[in-house]
Symmetry: C2
Subunit: 195 residues, 2 copies
């Protein structure tokens, strides 16, 4: 296989990238070797060498503990529990949360045999029981697995003095009622706000 | 900027990749460093070091002359003239052409100031005038620029004994008449085949 075909094949292994997109990307890379391919190699090598999992929260960063865990301007008394790195990024983009995180790295799953130990729940319980933590926000996905995991954590933390909260469910900003699924609409009616 | 953000930003510079796709790709890469990121770095480094433009036809390959130009099983008497590497790849995928190529690297353009010298036309004329060439297929795009370029080459080769051809225009395989643009339908009617 030529080095071109090998490169295209590597790109098709990435999520959402089919053969056509991979060819387009590789074509652009080989056309602009110095401006595109070289910086991309450097960025990947840097990520490969320096990225490490934060031993405190499970975030991925070039430093350990991560930039969020070491940022003194962030509120160390609120922990936001997320399933995954992508969820942490999503919450950071909203710019509405200024506390710290705990990345589980998955959900509880009886089928896949993932128990509490497999997804950093013991570490979360230890952190939550430390004196400085006042609130734990359970920001797992609104899926069956996510909610099961949230309930498990809620149950385990019920004896402690820590406040437990979950993200509000309802109509997305800009959402049209006609296109919403019935479950979301039902939840939004049930949780309606009175003025 | 963290090495993660830097990597995401590099990916957004590729064609068709927005911030969301870039994040998805990077997330997958950092999750599977050894299985995905490392092989991708290696493939890119290999391409970076070994890919070179074939001095005969303008193709990109890890050898020069390229694998197509040096393949004795391919018919050296037919030249297929294409605008771009992507067009060469597309024709190779059709598996219907077993001759050699000439990659122009663009089209003639008065606006952008690209004359015949800028797009490898002198080299094409030299190749076409060699004794072994019997046919030149002008497979430029069916755009105004592509057709202008094809006409220019046709004009310059009109004195030589070489046979000149163009790709057939008509209805795509599986195409529905109702969805075809009028130009294509008109061309297909004009070029209709009698039985």
């Amino acid at each position: 296989m030529s080095s071109l075909d090998a490169l295209i094949q590597q790109f098709t292994k990435l999520p959402g990238i089919g053969p056509r997109s991979a060819r387009r990307m590789v074509l652009q890379l080989v056309r602009k070797k110095e401006q595109l391919m070289h910086p991309l190699i450097i960025a990947m090598q840097h990520a490969m060498e320096h990225l490490q999992t934060c031993t405190v929260c499970g975030n991925l960063d070039s430093q350990n503990p991560c930039a969020i865990c070491t940022d003194d301007r962030r509120d160390a008394s609120i922990l936001c529990v997320v399933e995954d790195l992508a969820d942490l990024w999503a919450i950071e983009r909203s710019r509405m949360f200024k506390g710290r995180y705990h990345v589980l790295g998955g959900t509880l799953s009886a089928i896949d045999g993932r128990g509490p130990e497999a997804i950093a729940i013991p570490a979360l319980l230890r952190r939550a029981q430390s004196r400085e933590i006042v609130e734990v926000i359970l920001a797992t996905n609104a899926t069956v697995e996510g909610q099961t995991t949230a309930h498990y954590i809620m149950d385990r933390l019920s004896d402690s003095n820590v406040k437990i909260s979950q993200l509000a469910q309802g109509i997305p900003i800009g959402g049209e009622l006609d296109y919403l699924d019935d479950g979301t609409l039902g939840a939004a009616i049930k949780a309606r706000l009175s003025f």
